[in-house]
């Protein structure tokens, strides 16, 4: 028994130490479990991530954002593609390779290719980009030393219809792993940062444009341009309330998916030149509406005020005349409806140059239009270098100040939008309300006068039953080769608003050097050229915009067909 007792005593001595060890063990276990639990919690709490689309290698790098129209139709998108490069030192027989590649890519010059492959270079680009079919053909050759790098190609599915708006990209940095594309024109350039921003990956830029409307407007404008043998044309369709550009066409146009063709000649005649947003033209008598609105707004006159309109107005050694015979006195309304230069010049003089300039400034005629295109930022209206009273007089009927059709559309939209300033935009969505330039009463009055222009004035061919089009024609002679104006080369413009009782859209149609040869004598006035084209655009485009004609009410008595069926 004692044998047992003694060790028990010993154990009793070590008992304290054993307990301490146990505690240590338990503590370390607790620590381990806590670590495990924490880790599990962390795993459970973290968000599961899904890999985003990468290039062909799926390395998850962000790709350039897409551009869509207002209904989500793709206007610019990416396609994964490849670039072909070579390591010449690895090649067994460079001449054989060059011959084979020449058969696959007929657009590569065989001599330069041979020089690349037989030289001392260790690396050479062969073709960028390469389509899947070409890639397969090169793979089938099975030559060593030919490699494919990832790259993206930018595709513009809408083609020519949106060519001027979406713009273009070019490869800024090329690498065998990827290619960095940067915008070089249009929306692509203006929103380059936003399109490349990884934070916006998967969120396309939604434009205010409507692809079907754009296509229809382009088709009508193209037909009109061909019929009138014009060398160019531009049209803008803008929402009055928001300034959203629903359609903007510039002809001639180009295929954005094809390789750019070098254009020989003046930049303004290039197909790449955006006549609607970039081109600045003297927009002629369409300015008379603005001048009259200013005079009425300033309270100097009203629509019924009688004005003396002599056939010529002298200012120093300059004379302002009319394009056709006018009565000796007219109301302000008739000055617009019959398009009197003298009357407009007199109105601008009654306003005074300072007030006239102030109104033009508030209408945005002195600044770039603010449209989200790289090109339009540079297209500030061309103003006279020294603004004299004579400048005010000529600008009052649209000569001496050259602005883009977008500027004109914005000014007309401002007038129609109860006089509140409209800023043109290419992005879909509501805009903040602009500050008032004209009063609501002036706006109503001018819309009524513009309607008169179509019902009894210079734009009678612009009538489309049920849409209450109102507008103003403008025929501006171009500056000839020897200076001065050239009678046979004109820019004819029709600026319109519809429906005038509740304005929804502003439509500007501008033709460069049109001639109507349907009659005995060739006619170039806007009333015979731009106006019928605009009317046809309204007829084609309104159903696509969901507008219905306001039909003449059915008057007394039941109506039936003249068929004899009773």
């Amino acid at each position: 028994m004692t044998d047992f007792a003694a060790p028990r005593n010993v154990r009793a001595g070590t008992g304290q130490r054993g307990e301490w060890r146990l505690m240590l063990l338990m503590a370390s276990f607790c620590l381990c479990y806590t670590a495990v639990v924490l880790n599990m919690g962390l795993l459970a709490a973290s968000d599961p991530t899904e890999p985003v689309l990468g290039g062909a290698g799926g390395d998850g790098r962000p790709i350039r954002g897409e551009i869509t129209d207002r209904d989500g139709n793709l206007l610019a998108a990416n396609l994964p593609a490849w670039s072909l490069y070579a390591h010449p030192p690895v090649m067994k027989n460079p001449i054989q390779v060059a011959n084979a590649l020449d058969r696959i890519f007929p657009d590569i010059d065989r001599e330069t290719l041979l020089k690349k492959l037989t030289g001392k270079r260790r690396f050479a680009w062969i073709k960028r980009p390469v389509t899947p079919r070409e890639r397969q053909l090169v793979h089938d050759l099975g030559f060593p030393g030919l490699h494919f790098g990832n790259r993206e190609i930018r595709i513009y599915p809408a083609g020519r219809a949106m060519a001027h708006i979406v713009g273009s990209v070019r490869a800024a940095r090329e690498d065998v792993r990827y290619t960095e594309l940067t915008g070089s024109a249009g929306i692509e350039k203006h929103f380059d940062e936003r399109l490349r921003d990884p934070d916006f990956a998967g969120q396309p830029i939604r434009l205010s444009l409507d692809l079907p409307v754009q296509q229809a407007m382009r088709a009508v404008l193209r037909d009109g341009m061909e019929r009138l043998t014009a060398k160019g044309a531009a049209a803008v369709l803008m929402k009055v309330r928001t300034g959203e550009v629903v359609s903007m066409v510039s002809l001639p146009d180009f295929d954005p998916n094809a390789k750019p063709i070098f254009f020989r000649g003046k930049a303004e005649d290039s197909p790449r030149f955006n006549r609607a947003a970039q081109g600045r033209y003297e927009l002629g008598s369409t300015f008379k509406v603005l001048t009259a609105a200013m005079a009425i707004e300033a309270g100097i006159v009203n629509a019924e005020t009688m004005m003396q309109t002599p056939s010529q107005l002298k200012y120093g050694r300059h004379r302002i005349g009319e394009s056709h015979r006018m009565p000796a006195q007219m109301t302000v309304e008739d000055i617009v409806v019959k398009s009197s230069n003298v009357g407009s010049a007199k109105l601008s003089m009654m306003l005074g140059t300072r007030r006239f300039k102030d109104y033009l400034d508030r209408l945005g005629m002195f600044d770039a239009s603010g449209l989200e295109l790289a090109e339009s930022a540079k297209a500030k209206p061309l103003l006279p270098p020294y603004w004299t009273d004579l400048s005010s007089m000529t600008i009052s009927f649209g000569h001496g100040l050259a602005a883009s059709p977008i500027h004109l559309a914005a000014a007309y939209a401002t007038l129609a939008n109860d006089g509140k300033l409209v800023r043109p935009t290419l992005l879909a969505g509501p805009q903040p309300e602009g500050e008032p330039v004209f009063s609501k009463e002036t706006s109503r009055e001018m819309l009524r006068i513009m309607r008169e222009v179509v019902t009894r004035g210079t734009a009678r061919r612009g009538e489309v039953p049920g849409f209450e089009i109102g507008g103003k024609t403008g025929t501006a002679e171009k500056i000839g080769a020897r200076g001065g104006y050239d009678r046979n080369r004109v820019i004819s413009t029709f600026a319109s608003v519809f429906p005038t009782s509740a304005p929804e859209y502003v439509l500007i149609v501008s033709l460069d050097e049109p001639t109507d040869r349907s009659g005995r004598k060739p006619v170039r006035t806007a009333g015979r050229t731009a106006v019928p084209v605009a009317a046809e655009i309204v007829r084609r485009v309104t159903p696509l915009l969901g507008m219905r004609p306001r039909l003449a009410p059915i008057s007394d008595g039941p109506y039936t067909l003249s068929t004899g069926i009773e």
């Binding site: 793709l74 219809a161 489309v464 039953p465 049920g466 696509l544 059915i554 067909l561 068929t563």
Partner: protein, 126 residues
């Protein structure tokens, strides 16, 4: 007793070791699978993207315009212009539904033009 205890402990340790080994390999296969699935998803997304672009390409306005012109005889489409819209009241409603057959070619020929009926009374008496 203690000996048995040790034996039991040893067995447990072996069992746990086996389990841990198994879990380790399961985890590794799971990781492999996740990687495979990820690249599969990326590939599917890429395919989706290509198809989406191709769909937009096939619906390109110029192409549709060309096709509608090419198949115009089969499609028999007319441009939607405001002229085709009219008041419902203009549509002649025959008193007898059977007359539709009779009236259809007339609409085709004459179009829908509102003209006053000669005598409202005659209409009502019908």
């Amino acid at each position: 007793m203690i000996r048995h205890g040790f034996a039991l402990l040893a067995l447990t340790i072996i069992a746990i070791a086996g389990w841990a080994y198994n879990v380790n390999y399961n985890t590794m296969t799971a990781f492999d699978r996740v990687r495979d699935l990820r690249s599969e998803i990326a590939a599917e997304r890429e395919a989706l993207q290509v198809l989406r672009v191709e769909w937009a390409w096939l619906n390109a306005p110029d192409r549709l315009e060309r096709l509608t012109a090419q198949f115009a005889p089969q499609l028999q489409l007319v441009p939607l212009v405001p002229d085709v819209l009219q008041h419902t009241a203009v549509v002649p409603f025959p008193s007898d539904p059977e007359d539709v057959i009779e009236i259809a070619p007339v609409i085709d020929r004459e179009g829908l033009v509102p003209v006053p009926a000669p005598r409202p009374a005659a209409w009502r008496s019908e």
